[in-house]
Symmetry: C2
Subunit: 242 residues, 2 copies
DNA sequence: ATTATCGGGTTGTCGGACAACGTAAGATGA
DNA sequence: TCATCTTACGTTGTCCGACAACCCGATAAT
């Protein structure tokens, strides 16, 4: 009797352009690395004005589905893990998350991620860990920026060792949220550098031995230390991360 | 002596428009709910053509920072968790992740998330769980779509109970990756419905009692069941989720 | 008071135009 | 013949001007 009609979609044309090309990329009809037709060609094929097509292209860009390659041609690109995580991280920051939110999540996932990493990391990855760790020896005590990089980079490497793309992106987005609060901490907690270095050393040792339990245990200590440093520095755990 | 200069950024103007407005939103100078000037006004203020401004606006749209509200005016919106997660999830799917990647991550986070949920969920949330669970009784055995919705919705509710925005977004993106493989499973595993219902019942009971251990334990069983169903259905764990 | 009509303002789309830049092909030199 | 320079062309980024469709608020009609 009373048949329900779908609300008829009245999308603007530029959105259709976006969705159409997105669908083709997603379905694999446009392979990563392939180059899209020129704007002129696209507007011909779609039967739309170049301005309209351009607006759709800008959205593809922001979605990370295409990039301007050489010759400025548009290149299809499956966004790599890093950029995906960056986007996710930025969105999280927009949300106004607090340090306690980040820390809780770190506690929840990092130790288990370290356990997984212990069972999967390769020789090369261990070497990369040790090479990065050596940078602590030549570290200027006041070079906070470098230390932040080392700390976050360490987490990133652990994430890579899990050999799991979903976990990788998840951890990466999380890790990027560590940097801002860590910067705050470093200015006020002189002992932090040493504690970070020691914890990393223990975790690296555990990883190299494939000792998942120890890796998880020390990762938990390491993450807890972050929170401790935050408190010691007299900062409010409920402050916005960004 | 030899001072290093930053490579001078030669961003196109539409990108500057995007970044400028984004920065203002991020810094809180533009509050969520506030409405942006009209396109004409913006192009005046920026000293750019309306077309150029429009391209920047399209990017803000895709980034989820603005929406067209009533009167089609652009209104600033901090993207809510759901849409952030959706974007993240879509990006993950683009990556071509496999079911085993998703499952591994589920095993890693869902039980602990359930434990956290047990210690934090409110009366209303428990009631919502029970209301949703009641839907199983009136469920048509062949209505796979409805069952998928119930299954994913359950995970979402658990995520909400954690009362942690970071975890919420993380879990939500993950949960959205469950639906496609689950659809495949349901067609070939007739017992799945009952198993899902029972596991949910146990978890809900644990949550209502604030029994974190039990919640985690059953959540683990629940997630493992997903993988089991996937194998039973004769599907390849290394297949792409999407 | 409710409904119908009208006007102004805004967006979505269009067509055309041009400078800047990179590419590629052709011209020039060793 | 091969390398290098020059030139013409194509593409992008930006601009201008224009118009229909649409939404909202104000006014008029029932």
């Amino acid at each position: 009797m009373n048949h329900r009609f779908e609300p008829i979609a009245k999308e603007p044309a530029y959105l259709k352009v976006f969705r159409t090309i997105e669908a083709d990329i997603l379905a694999g009809r446009l392979e990563p690395g392939a180059s899209l037709p020129t704007e002129g060609e696209l507007s011909n094929q779609f039967g739309l004005n170049r301005s309209t097509v351009r607006e759709g292209i800008r959205q593809l860009e922001e979605a990370g589905l295409v990039e301007r390659g050489a010759a400025k041609r548009l290149i299809v690109c499956r966004p790599e893990a890093g950029s995906v995580a960056q986007r996710a991280s930025r969105s999280l920051a927009h949300q106004g998350v607090t340090f306690i939110d980040v820390w809780e999540t770190l506690v929840l996932v990092e130790p288990e991620a370290a356990r997984l990493a212990a069972s999967r990391c390769t020789e090369e990855q261990i070497e990369a860990f040790e090479a990065a760790h050596a940078a602590f020896d030549t570290l200027d005590a006041d070079d906070h920026e470098k230390l932040v990089e080392l700390a976050v980079g360490f987490f990133q490497r652990v994430a890579e060792c899990t050999d799991n793309d979903v976990l990788l992106v998840t951890l990466q987005s999380l890790n990027m949220l560590i940097a801002p609060p860590l910067r705050l901490v470093l200015g006020r907690a002189p002992r932090a550098t040493r504690r970070i270095r020691d914890a990393q050393a223990m975790i690296i040792e555990a990883l190299s031995k494939g000792d998942g339990d120890k890796a998880a245990e020390w990762m938990l200590k390491h993450v807890n230390d972050l929170k401790r440093g935050f408190s010691v520095a007299g900062l409010d755990l409920n402050d916005k991360v960004l």
